[in-house]
């Protein structure tokens, strides 16, 4: 199989960073699928960025060693030229959208290649079909759910028909059918001799026979870990004794202008974790936000007992604006006039060593933990979390479980909206599925 990329003792340091993000990386990439593993902040995203030249051309900084992609020297070939054959889907797909509607967004890349309109149209349809979203073609991107946006970003990358496809946490918001579509698409590309490189914290969702593996640890290549066929087992939650009703929905209809869910009856009790799952775009976030009091129900009755609600939005990075992570947690304590210290929650999320870091300098996974620490400090009576495992490595998932365990033991009522069904079944006392506008108890078992 022809060599597509070769890295020899390649290293890189971001501008103004004290430590190198990549250190003496050496590997060769032929066709097929390669999975990059490693904890949050280990350099996976940087390695992907270096495979299409964004590192160092877009980000600046200092690079050393040798690297070539598709025969071109990485240090002298610009990203925009490499991009004609190398596509990338970013970790936060909502930030990469350039145009307002799905069809035009998917067409943006092929348009940059100067293709004839008929071929562009064909590629757009094919990309949308592959990701199972042809019905979204005329929708505005602003109206899509997080998972639907991730599928659009993947369709846009596939429409470029790249020789090398780079995917950064591509299933972080995908439901199981979306992950299956992606795996099949990657298998198809690999069968054509093309290369797909995937950084993924849940590798079992995209794993396939013949898959190569790279493991990163603090910017260096490490020995690959034993491949998992499913999520690592999490310690069982203690207690699970539930108390009085904390919130209750009766015959509720939720939505913005149009209802996305009707006839919803659900209640959450003290000490209970209720998880909401369902396909991308089914209305999980809308139902969570309505229950938290951020959206008015279209009809029906909503009861929420008095007390503090902690809320983690789907894009949590936006709430972080203090100079340091420590100040960020202190801010919540000050605003809510809590009688506690920031240290313990930072410790619980293993963020003590990053307490003096600017939250915006952290990796996506670390930011997620930082936002969780900022909203969960103290003892909130009710907790509402939207996709809390987005970009989370197995360790972060275990830490979150521990914190939720403590909170429920103290009587918090927790509602989690997630497309991560395995996590939902691992932590939830009850797992509810929202699909086709109706809510029902999920019959699926934890993997």
């Amino acid at each position: 199989m022809a060599e597509l990329a070769r890295f020899e003792e390649f290293g890189y340091r971001y501008p103004e960073a004290a430590d190198a993000a990549l250190r003496a990386i050496s590997f060769e990439l032929a066709g097929g699928v390669t999975l990059i593993g490693g904890p949050s902040g280990s350099g996976k995203t940087t390695l992907l960025r270096s495979l299409n030249g964004l590192v160092p051309h877009f980000h600046g900084g200092q690079a050393w060693g040798r690297a070539s992609v598709l025969g071109a020297d990485l240090r002298t070939t610009s990203t925009r030229l490499l991009a004609r054959a190398v596509s990338m889907v970013f970790q936060e797909p909502e930030s990469q959208f350039v145009l307002a509607t799905v069809r035009r967004e998917v067409a943006f890349g092929p348009e940059n290649l100067g293709l004839p309109p008929l071929e562009i149209a064909q590629r757009v349809d094919c990309g949308l079909e592959t990701m199972g979203i042809p019905e979204l073609a005329e929708r505005r991107i602003a109206t899509l759910s997080g998972g639907q946006r991730q599928r659009v970003a993947l369709a846009a990358a596939l429409a470029m028909r790249p020789r090398l496809l780079l995917l950064d946490e591509p299933t972080s918001q995908l439901d199981d059918s979306g992950a299956d579509s992606l795996r099949l698409a990657c298998q198809g590309l690999a069968a054509q001799g093309l290369a797909v490189v995937i950084a993924e914290h849940r590798p079992w969702r995209v794993d396939m026979p013949g898959c190569h593996q790279l493991e990163l640890e603090q910017g260096s290549l490490a020995s690959p870990q034993v491949r998992r066929s499913g999520p690592p087992a999490l310690p069982a939650r203690r207690g699970r004794a539930t108390g009085a009703v904390a919130w209750e929905l009766n015959d509720l209809a939720v939505g913005h202008a149009e209802p996305v869910g009707t006839g919803i009856d659900l209640a959450g009790r003290e000490g209970e974790v209720v998880c909401l799952t369902g396909p991308n775009g089914s209305g999980k976030t809308t139902l969570l936000r309505t229950t938290a009091g951020l959206l008015r129900p279209l009809s029906g009755a909503l009861f929420r007992r008095p007390g503090r609600c902690a809320y983690l939005p789907q894009e949590p990075g936006g709430i972080l604006h203090q100079a340091t992570l420590l100040d960020e947690v202190r801010q919540t304590i000050r605003w809510l006039q809590l009688d506690c210290q920031p240290g313990p929650i930072l410790e619980e999320f293993e963020l003590s060593s990053l307490a003096d870091s600017d939250p915006r300098d952290l990796s996506t996974g670390q930011r997620q933990r930082a936002a969780l620490a900022a909203v969960l400090v103290g003892r909130p009576e009710m907790v509402f979390l939207d996709e809390p495992t987005r970009g989370a490595d197995p360790n972060s998932r275990a830490l979150l479980l521990k914190v939720l365990d403590r909170l429920t033991a103290q009587g918090s009522a927790v509602l989690v909206a997630t497309s991560d069904t395995q996590f939902a079944h691992q932590i939830g006392d009850r797992v509810m599925e929202l699909a086709g506008g109706h809510l029902r108890e999920s019959s699926e078992q934890a993997a």
């Binding site: 970013f90 990469q96 943006f108 290649l113 902690a310 605003w335």
Partner: protein, 273 residues
């Protein structure tokens, strides 16, 4: 709607609202701009925020002219002379002239808003000549940042409220404004990175669709183009009445030539469908 036809119409609105100080002409032009915006806007667009912003700009214009002109015979109040800039008589004529300027400004703003709320950014990009396609795509992309800032503001405000933030004076809003702006700036950097990674600027661009002309677009462009030609001709022939409220406040005269030009700006409403 064809963006090129709409661009001709916008050019006509700008010319007619700025080419003369005739309040009748400006009232008609503003009326046409508001009606066209209301009727031809994309269905998902909300008009209220845009119209509030235009109203605020117009109100400020009237206020500034009233406070700063000090010219005219009908004095409302006289401020002490030691007040810098504000000192002196404040007149009815000053307010009326401010109103006239505000009409022209509002018509221009509404025309600009119409261009962005009636057609999609990508339609504007598609309608540009090939030589401008890269610039157009970059401008089209940057236009999406404005609604993103709005979404970001709402999302951050909600999240901060749930963390205990409450609006207490102007200073407290930094907890919402700073993360909103930072998130948008960060988003624009990520978007630039994504554009680079999607081969933007790697060679000549093509387009999925080219803009098409419908009979209604031809009618709009012809009416607006005709209005431009007729108005310029009227200017050259001295048929556009000059009006100023100074020194004596008089009602503007009605001149049919410029009024007819302004009425032609309603064509996009008639040509709807």
């Amino acid at each position: 709607m064809n963006p090129r036809a709409l661009a001709v119409w916008v050019a006509a609105v700008l010319l007619l609202s700025l080419g003369s100080e005739d309040p009748v002409c400006r009232v008609l032009t503003l009326g046409a701009a508001v009606v066209v915006l209301a009727v031809r806007r994309r269905h998902e667009v909300r008009l209220r925020p845009a119209l509030l912003a235009v109203g605020a700009a117009a109100a400020l214009t009237i206020l500034f002219n009233f406070l700063l002109s000090h010219t005219g015979q009908n004095i409302v109040v006289a401020l002490p002379g030691w007040l810098p800039a504000l000192g002196g008589p404040l007149t009815v004529e000053g307010a009326v002239y401010g109103f006239d300027i505000a009409l022209g400004l509002a018509a221009c703003l509404v025309a600009g808003i119409t261009l962005s709320l009636v057609v999609e950014p990508h339609q504007l990009v598609d309608s540009l000549p090939a030589a401008l396609s890269h610039t157009g795509a970059a401008v089209g992309a940057s236009l999406t940042l404005v609604p993103r800032l709005g979404h970001s503001f709402v999302a951050v405000r909600e999240a901060q409220q749930m963390r205990g933030w409450r609006p207490r004076g102007l200073r407290s809003w930094t907890a919402v404004l700073v993360p909103s702006v930072l998130t948008t700036i960060e988003g624009s950097v990520l978007m630039a990175e994504a554009m680079e990674a999607r081969a933007f600027g790697s060679g000549s661009r093509s387009a999925l669709a080219t803009s098409t002309w419908h009979p209604s677009d031809l009618l709009t462009a012809s009416a607006a183009g005709g209005a431009i030609v007729a108005f310029v001709l009227a200017l050259v022939l001295g048929q556009i009445p000059s009006w100023q409220p100074y020194p004596t406040l008089l009602l503007p005269a009605l001149n049919w030539w410029p009024a007819a030009c302004c009425l032609a700006l309603f064509a996009p409403v008639l040509a709807r469908g």
